[in-house]
Amino acid sequence: MERIRRVRLNTSARRLLPLLLLSILVALTVACDAPMSTAVIAGSDNRLIWGPYTLIMWMAMITFVLTMLLTAYLSIAYRERPGRVAQQIHGNTRLEVLWTLIPVAIVVVMAVPTITTIQQQATVPPDAMKVIAIGHQWWFEFQYPDNGGVITANELHIPEGKTVAFDVRSTDVIHAFWVPQLAGKIDMMPGHVNKIHFSADKARPEPYLGQCAELCGYSHANMRFRVFVDTQADFDKWVANAKADAKAPVSPLAKQGAEIFSRSACIGCHTVAGTAAQAKLGPSLTHLGARTTIAAGTLENNEANLQKWIHNSADIKPGSKMPPMGTSAGGTLSDDEIKAVAAYLLELK
C-alpha cells in the first residue's frame, strides 16, 4: 500500500512540475520588460516574425500540455496494482493512422504562415534607405551611402517609420547583426553581402540594444551596438553633424590631446575627418564625443572609461585589436598624455 501511495505522489509531482514552471514563465514573459526581449515588438521585421511565432507558440504549448497530461494520466491510471493484468495489445491501425494525421495537420497549419512570412521578409520596399553594416572583431561599422557617406560605429541612427535596407558584411570572421526588438538576426559573412530590411515603429530617446549573435572570438560577448530611432527632423540634424568634419579642439587640454593623437599610433588605425588621421582599421572617431558609449556598446562614454580604454583596451575587451597605449601596459603614452587624448576625443561631438 505504501509503495502505491509513493508512486502516486511521484507521478502527480511529475505532472505538476512542468505545469508550474510553465505558468511562472508565461506570467513573467508578459510582465517582464527586458531591453533585449524578442517578445517586445518595435519594428516591422519582428512584427512579421510574430505572425507565425504567436500561432506556433500556442500550438507548441497546447501540444506540450496535452502530451504531458497524457503521459501523467497513463502513468497513474495503469500503474502496478495487485490483480491488474496487462492487456496484450500489439497495435491498432486506425489509432495509428489517426495519430500520424494529427502531426500532419499541425505541420500544415504551421507551414502555411511560415512560407508566406518568408516571402514577405524577402520583399524590400523600393523607397528604402540604404545602410551598410560591417562586422569587425569586435565592433560594428555603419555606412550611410544615401546620406552623404556618413560613417559611424556601434551606434546606429535611423529615422522612425522609414524602411532601412541593410547590406550586411564582415571584414574578418562571421558575426551576426541582431536588434531583437526590431528584427530577426542575419549573419555577417565574409565574402558575402547579406540583406535585411526593417523599419522601427516610433522615435524614442533610449536606444534599442543590439548584439553580435555568432561566436566571433574572445570578445564575442562584448560586441554590442545601439540603435537610436529618431524623428525625421532629429535624424536629419544627426546626419548633418555626422557628415561634417571633426570640430577643432577648444580647451587647452584637448588641444594638447589633438597634438599627441596626431603624432601617436592612433592615426595608424583611426579616422578623424578633417585631420591627418585617415586610417580605417578601427572605428571612425570623427564624432566620438557625440556617442553615448564606447567599446562596442559596453561602456558609458565618459572621461574615466575613455582613459581606461586608451590605457589598455584588452582589460575591458579581451583580445582587443587595439594595442595598449599606456606606458605601464607596454605603450608609449603617460597617464597625463592619455588624459589629454581622452579630453580631445570627448570634444569631437
Partner: protein, 597 residues
C-alpha cells in the same frame, strides 16, 4: 558442455593484459561504458564551470578565452566522448546478445574501434595542457583559420575528430554487418528488437555522415597546415562551404545521438508495462523515416546565413515533416503504456521521463523549424534549451534508463532502487530547472556563447536558477556513482531474466558466459522469451558442439597507437605521422597473419 569449458580454458580471463587484448564484445562494451561515463563526468565538470561563470552578471570565475574553450570542450566531450560512446557501449554489449550471436562479425575490429576511440578521446582532452579548441563544437570558418585562431586548439579539434571518426566508422560497419549477417535462426528483420533496429539505422547514418565531416576536417587541416584557402573568402574559398559540410554531418549526428535512447526506451517500456510494444512496425519505420529525412534538413542550422527565400522554404518544410514520424514514436510509446500494469522502478521512471523530456525538445525543435521564428531563436539560449532537452532530457535520460535496466545482465548485480529513485528525482528536477528557463532567457534575447552579460537585461534570476539546477543534476549523477560502486561490491544475485523481459539477452545467464549462449537460440516470435513461456517451449539442451571464440589480440591496441601518433603529427612534427604510419602498416601485417585459433 565439456567442449565449451575446453574452449574457454584457452583464454586468460583476468589481469590488465587480458583487458588490453580482449576481443570479447561484452568486455569491449564495458570498456566503452566506463571510459565514456568518465568523460561524461569530466564534461559535467566543464558544464558546472560554465554555469558558475554565468550564475551572476559580470561573472569572473573564468576569463573569455577559457570560457570559449570550456563550452567548446563541454560540447565535444559530451557528444563525441560521452553520449556517442555510451550508445556504442550498449550496442557492443547488446547487439550479439539480442540477435542471438556469440560475438560481433569482426571482434578484433571491434577492439580496434575502442582503442582508437580511447586514443582520440585522450588526445582531444590533452589539448587542455596546451590550448583547447575554442571555436564552438561546429567550429565555423574562418574563425577556425590560422589567421584568427593561431594556437594549437583548432588543430586538436581537427585531428581529434578525425581519429574519433575512424573509430565510429569501424564500429558502424562492424555493427551493420553483424546485425545483417549474424542473426539467430528465426530472427527475421521484422522480429529484431527495436534497439537493434535503431542500432542498424545509426550504423548507416554514421557510415554516410562521417565522410562529409572528414572532407571538411581535411580541408581545414590543409588550410591551417599547408596554406590552402578552402574556407577563406577573397582568396577563392568560402566560409559557407564549411557550414554545409559540417551540418550534412551534424544533423544526422543528432539522430546518431538520440536513436540509441529511443531504442532503449522501446525495450524498457514494454517490459515494465508487461505488454508488447504498441505498433512495432510503425516505430521501426518511423525510425527509418527520421533517419532518411535527417539528410534533407541540414540547412535549418543556417537559416540566418542569408540563403534566400526558396531554400528557407524547402528546408523549413522538410524539417517540420520530421515532426510526423517523431510524433508517431511518442504516441506509440504512450500506447504501449496504455492498458499495462506498469512497474515504476528506476529504469521505467527514466524511460517515462525520456518521453516527457524528449517531447519538450521535439516541440521546441518544430518551433524553430520556421525560419522567421528561427531569426529570433538562432544562437540564443532558446536553441541551447532545445538541444539540451533532446540530448540530456532525451539521450542521456534514455541511457540512464538502459543502465538501470541492463545492469543485472551486464554485471549480475542490481543497482539499489532507493538510491536509484533519489538519482531519478534529482536528475528530473535538475534537468528541468537547468534547461527549462533557457527557453525563457532565449526569448529575452540572451545569445549563447557569451561569457558575460549586463545586469540591466533581466537575465540574472533565471541564470542563477539554471546554475542551481546544474548542481542538482551533478548531485544526482554523484548518487548514481555511489550506487554503482555499492552494487559492484555486492554478490552476483541476478538470475537470467529478473525483469521477465522478452528479448534474447535475457535467455542466457547474468552476466553471460564468454560465449554468450550455450546453444544458439531459435526465434519464433517478435517477443521470443514470452512466446516460449506462453507455449511452454523449454530452452534446447547443449549439444556439445565446438564453440569457436577468437583469441585475444594485441594488434588492435598497437594499431590504435599508430593512428594516434599519425594524428599527433600536425600538432608537433610531421615525422610523428610517418612513425604512426609505420606502426599501422606493421599492425595490419601482423593482424592479417595472426592465427585465429
Amino acid at each position: 558442455m565439456a567442449t565449451v569449458a575446453g574452449t574457454l580454458a584457452h583464454h586468460e580471463n583476468s589481469g590488465v593484459w587480458s583487458w588490453l587484448t580482449t576481443v570479447d564484445h561484452k568486455r569491449i562494451g564495458a570498456l566503452y561504458g566506463i571510459t565514456a561515463f568518465s568523460f561524461f563526468m569530466w564534461g559535467g565538470v566543464q558544464a558546472l564551470l560554465v554555469r558558475t561563470q554565468l550564475a551572476v552578471p559580470h561573472g569572473a570565475v573564468v576569463d573569455a578565452k577559457l570560457y570559449n574553450e570550456l563550452f567548446t570542450m563541454h560540447a565535444l566531450t559530451m557528444i563525441f566522448l560521452a553520449v556517442m560512446p555510451l550508445g556504442a557501449s550498449f550496442q557492443n554489449f547488446l547487439i550479439p546478445l539480442m540477435i542471438g550471436a556469440r560475438d560481433v562479425a569482426f571482434p578484433r575490429l571491434n577492439a580496434l574501434s575502442y582503442w582508437v576511440f580511447f586514443g582520440g578521446a585522450v588526445l582531444l582532452t590533452a589539448s587542455f595542457f596546451f590550448e583547447a579548441p575554442g571555436g564552438g563544437w561546429f567550429n565555423y570558418a574562418p574563425l577556425s583559420e590560422k589567421e584568427f585562431s593561431p594556437g594549437l586548439g583548432i588543430d586538436f579539434y581537427v585531428v581529434g575528430l578525425m581519429v574519433l571518426g575512424i573509430s565510429s566508422l569501424m564500429a558502424a560497419l562492424n555493427f551493420a554487418v553483424t546485425i545483417i549477417n549474424m542473426r539467430a535462426p528465426g530472427m527475421t528483420m521484422m522480429r529484431l528488437p527495436v534497439f537493434i533496429w535503431m542500432s542498424l539505422i545509426i550504423s548507416f547514418l554514421l557510415i554516410l555522415a562521417l565522410p562529409p565531416l572528414t572532407v571538411a576536417l581535411i580541408q581545414l587541416l590543409f588550410d591551417r597546415q599547408f596554406g590552402t584557402h578552402f574556407f577563406i573568402a577573397g582568396e577563392g574559398g568560402d566560409p559557407i562551404l564549411w557550414q554545409h559540410l559540417f551540418w550534412v554531418f551534424g544533423h544526422p549526428e543528432v539522430y546518431i545521438l538520440i536513436l540509441p535512447a529511443m531504442g532503449i526506451v522501446s525495450e524498457v517500456i514494454p517490459v515494465f508495462s508487461r505488454k508488447p510494444l504498441f505498433g512495432y512496425p510503425a516505430i521501426v519505420f518511423a525510425g527509418m523515416a527520421i533517419a532518411f529525412l535527417g539528410w534533407a534538413v541540414w540547412s535549418h542550422h543556417m537559416f540566418t546565413t542569408g540563403m534566400g527565400a526558396v531554400p528557407r522554404t524547402i528546408f523549413a518544410t522538410n524539417t517540420m515533416i520530421i515532426a510526423i514520424p517523431t510524433g508517431v514514436k511518442v504516441f506509440n510509446w504512450l500506447g504501449t503504456m496504455y492498458g499495462g500494469n506498469i512497474r515504476f522502478n528506476t529504469a521505467m521512471s527514466f524511460a517515462v521521463a525520456f518521453i516527457a523530456l524528449f517531447t519538450i525538445g521535439g516541440i521546441s525543435g518544430v518551433m524553430h523549424a520556421s525560419p522567421p521564428v528561427d531569426g529570433q531563436h538562432q544562437d540564443t539560449y532558446f536553441v541551447v534549451a532545445h538541444l539540451h532537452y533532446v540530448l540530456v532530457g532525451g539521450a542521456v535520460t534514455g541511457i540512464f534508463s538502459g543502465i538501470y535496466y541492463w545492469f543485472p545482465k551486464m554485471t549480475g548485480r542490481f543497482l539499489d532502487e532507493k538510491l536509484g529513485m533519489v538519482h531519478f528525482w534529482l536528475w528530473f528536477i535538475g534537468v528541468n530547472l537547468t534547461f527549462f528557463p533557457m527557453h525563457y532567457l532565449g526569448l529575452l534575447g540572451m545569445p549563447r556563447r557569451i561569457y558575460t552579460y549586463d545586469a540591466g537585461l533581466n537575465w540574472g534570476f533565471w541564470n542563477m536558477a539554471e546554475t542551481i539546477g546544474a548542481f542538482t543534476i551533478a548531485a544526482g549523477v554523484l548518487i548514481f556513482v555511489i550506487n554503482f560502486f555499492r552494487s559492484m561490491g555486492q554478490e552476483k544475485t541476478a538470475e537470467a531474466n529478473p525483469w521477465g523481459a522478452a528479448t534474447l539477452e535475457w535467455a542466457t545467464s547474468s552476466p553471460p558466459p564468454e560465449h554468450d549462449f550455450d546453444v544458439v537460440p531459435v526465434v519464433r516470435s517478435r517477443d521470443p522469451l514470452w512466446y516460449d513461456r506462453d507455449h511452454n517451449i523449454a530452452p534446447a539442451e547443449p549439444t556439445g558442439e565446438h564453440i569457436h571464440l577468437p583469441p585475444p589480440s594485441y594488434y588492435p591496441i598497437l594499431m590504435a597507437t599508430g593512428v594516434v601518433l599519425m594524428a599527433m603529427g600536425p600538432l608537433s612534427h610531421l615525422a610523428l605521422t610517418a612513425v604512426g604510419v609505420l606502426i599501422v602498416v606493421y599492425g595490419i601485417w601482423g593482424w592479417a597473419l595472426e592465427p585465429t585459433e
